[in-house]
Amino acid sequence: MSDAVAGRITPASARRRRSSLSRSRVRAAWLFIAPPLIVLGLVAGWPLARTIWFSFTDANLNNLREYEFIGFENYLANYDGEWLGLLTDPDWWRSVWNTVWFALVSVSIETVLGMLVALILNAAFPGRGIMRAIILIPWAIPTVVSAKMWNWMLHDQFGVINDMLLRIGLISAPITWTASPDTALWTVVMVDVWKTTPFIALLILAALQMLPQDIYEAARVDGIHPIRVFFRVTLPLIRPALLVAVIFRALDALRVFDLIYVLTANSRDTMSMSVYARQQLVDFQEVGLGSAASTLIFLIIALLVVVTMTVGRLRFGEDAR
């Protein structure tokens, strides 16, 4: 229609028509985008902005109305030649290290286990549908509930795990799983693996089921060993889905809070960045310092997202060529 009309009218009026059309489109677009933008601004933008603002003040939880702007002193300050602030706090760096270690180890184990589970569930066997539902149970339980459940099971005196290990003779004395510095972080990792392996397994399973079956028959005719087929065919083909699953989980793990807080409270051995921020903000009432920690967490995760997305785009770009 536009061609026929444009043929009869002058170029100038055509331009006007087009621009009025596109103007109304832009208006409509803004109309649709505005509500979510306003909601996002209220629930995400405003708290974030306030947190960043508080991180430059000496605000205290006792009285949030009176505070002073103190610049970067919450992050780093020099009083009489002595360096103070968040960046000099060994507990903060300890929590950063704990978080990174936790994210790396738990996501690695979850990916490998999730892959195995997905491969098993991808095979045709009776009761597969029920198995798929059952495997999701740990993922479906709220973290606080499952963490509390594990807390009881891991209890050093009355826990069922110590009891079982004692009975079969694997240990000679009960282990204080969540309290001992040697086992605490590993225990947190174990519970996290138990809880989130199904998530990765399901994402990988979805990718596996998208794969064409004929190439596996071709591989069978060609006599290629199944393990070789896995590494040379299956793994490259599900890589995009795997990447998404790992990124999701890594971002999740970096802001871990509830699991660690319920299992080990404020123990320094397992404290994550989020637990540290909460402790400063709520327990010590140091809103300024807690906000500074929260701001740093935000920056660290934002940076990682940008890096992974850039790397991911490069990789995907490579595939598209």
Partner: protein
């Protein structure tokens, strides 16, 4: 190169039997085409030979070795899939070389074989590309190339041309014929397209509902179909079938009366036919003549102009709709009253059981074993 022998091969999926005792010998270097309607078991039969499915009963021999218990890889076969089944993330070169890497071939040997096959199929300029950068025809060549490099005893093709457009299909068909004559390999080819079957095959195996209906050369099947099913399946447009009744039989002669009252005398062996037995007359559209005068009258229902020839669909007064094919442009219009005649010499007769009557003079040998053509 090898002979493929099937003895009483059966296949059931659960309680559903899809292959009912197939006996077949594919000779060394022969090009055999399995043809049949959807769901007739032709692909299943091919997959049984490939080893992608296990036979429920019967024996399978490739090159005189019983292969029932051998995995596909040890059967020395190569298969070309309908969907090409190329590894999407690998280059053309890797797609062709992947299956060789394990076969204890050295790098230079693999390289030589891949490049040789690529040259043969004229894809040697595409070796670095990924499958999705190729056209359908090129992908099909890569799939064939992957089969060639393995130097198999038997090539298996599962409807390899069905995803190609018409022009490319004709071209690839010719290339596959040439490939067969160059390689002199045993090839088994599955298709639902009877034109592909007719043009490619040394021998055609017509399958229906898990059973072999007839085995024979393309012209044998065309000129001497063993039964109603083969007669209807081979040839396009389909053979006309007219219900009739036996009136009289004599040595080498059967007289029938078709619906509407016309009598025909056919030079066929009457077997044990008795008068008044119902029977079906079959006549190909090419042997049906439409004109102003004839024993069967009717009205033109549809005209299809194909350029070099045309098809007339005539609704007869007492019988079924008949198809006639004649050269040039149609001289009749829709609705026109016409008469239909056909040559009794070109007719086929099918008993109520579907079995065809043998022509006079042709010995009653089992179908497919005689290369002689029957032109009544």
């Amino acid at each position: 190169m090898a002979e493929v022998v099937l003895k009483g091969v059966e296949k059931s999926f659960g309680s559903v039997k899809v292959i009912h005792g197939v006996d077949l010998t594919v000779r060394d270097g022969e090009f055999v085409v399995f043809v049949g309607p959807s769901g007739c078991g032709k692909s299943t039969l091919l997959r049984l030979i490939a080893g992608l499915e296990d036979a429920t009963a019967g024996d399978l021999f490739i090159d005189a070795e019983r292969v029932n218990d051998l995995p596909p890889a040890k059967r020395r076969i190569a298969m070309v899939f309908q969907s090409y089944a190329l590894y999407p993330h690998m280059s053309v070169y890797d797609n062709m070389a992947f299956g060789l890497e394990l076969a204890k071939a050295t790098k230079s040997e693999i390289d030589q074989r891949v490049r040789q096959a690529a040259r043969l199929l004229q894809i040697d300029t595409l070796l670095d590309r990924k499958p999705k950068q190729l056209s359908g025809g090129q992908r099909q060549r890569v799939a064939i190339g992957r089969a060639i490099v393995r130097d198999p005893k038997v090539f298996l093709f599962d409807e390899p041309l069905s995803n190609l457009d018409a022009a490319l299909r004709v071209q690839t068909r010719i290339e596959i014929t040439k490939l067969h004559s160059d390689m002199k390999a045993t090839m088994i080819y599955v298709t639902h397209d009877q034109v592909e079957a007719m043009t490619l095959a040394d021998r055609i195996v017509v399958l229906n509902a898990g059973r072999i209906e007839q085995v024979g050369t393309p012209l044998e099947l065309y000129h001497r179909p063993a039964n109603l099913f083969v007669a209807g399946f081979i040839g396009s447009p389909q053979m006309n079938f007219i219900p009739a009744e036996v009136t009289q039989t004599g040595p080498g002669n059967v007289q029938v009366r078709i619906a509407g009252g016309s009598a025909l005398s056919l030079p066929l062996m009457p077997d044990d036919l008795r008068p008044s037995e119902p029977i079906t007359v079959g006549i190909r559209p090419d042997h049906v003549t439409v004109g102003p005068a004839g024993p069967i009258s009717g009205r033109v229902a549809l005209v299809e102009e194909l350029g070099e020839n045309h098809l007339l669909y005539v609704d007869t007064e007492h019988g079924p709709r008949l198809t006639a094919r004649a050269p040039g442009n149609a001289r009749h219009r829709i609705g026109e009253r016409v008469s239909v005649t056909f040559d009794a010499q070109s007719c086929h007769l099918f008993k109520a059981s579907g079995e065809a009557l043998a022509a006079r003079g042709s010995s009653p040998t089992p179908a497919g074993s005689s290369p002689r053509m029957n032109l009544a």
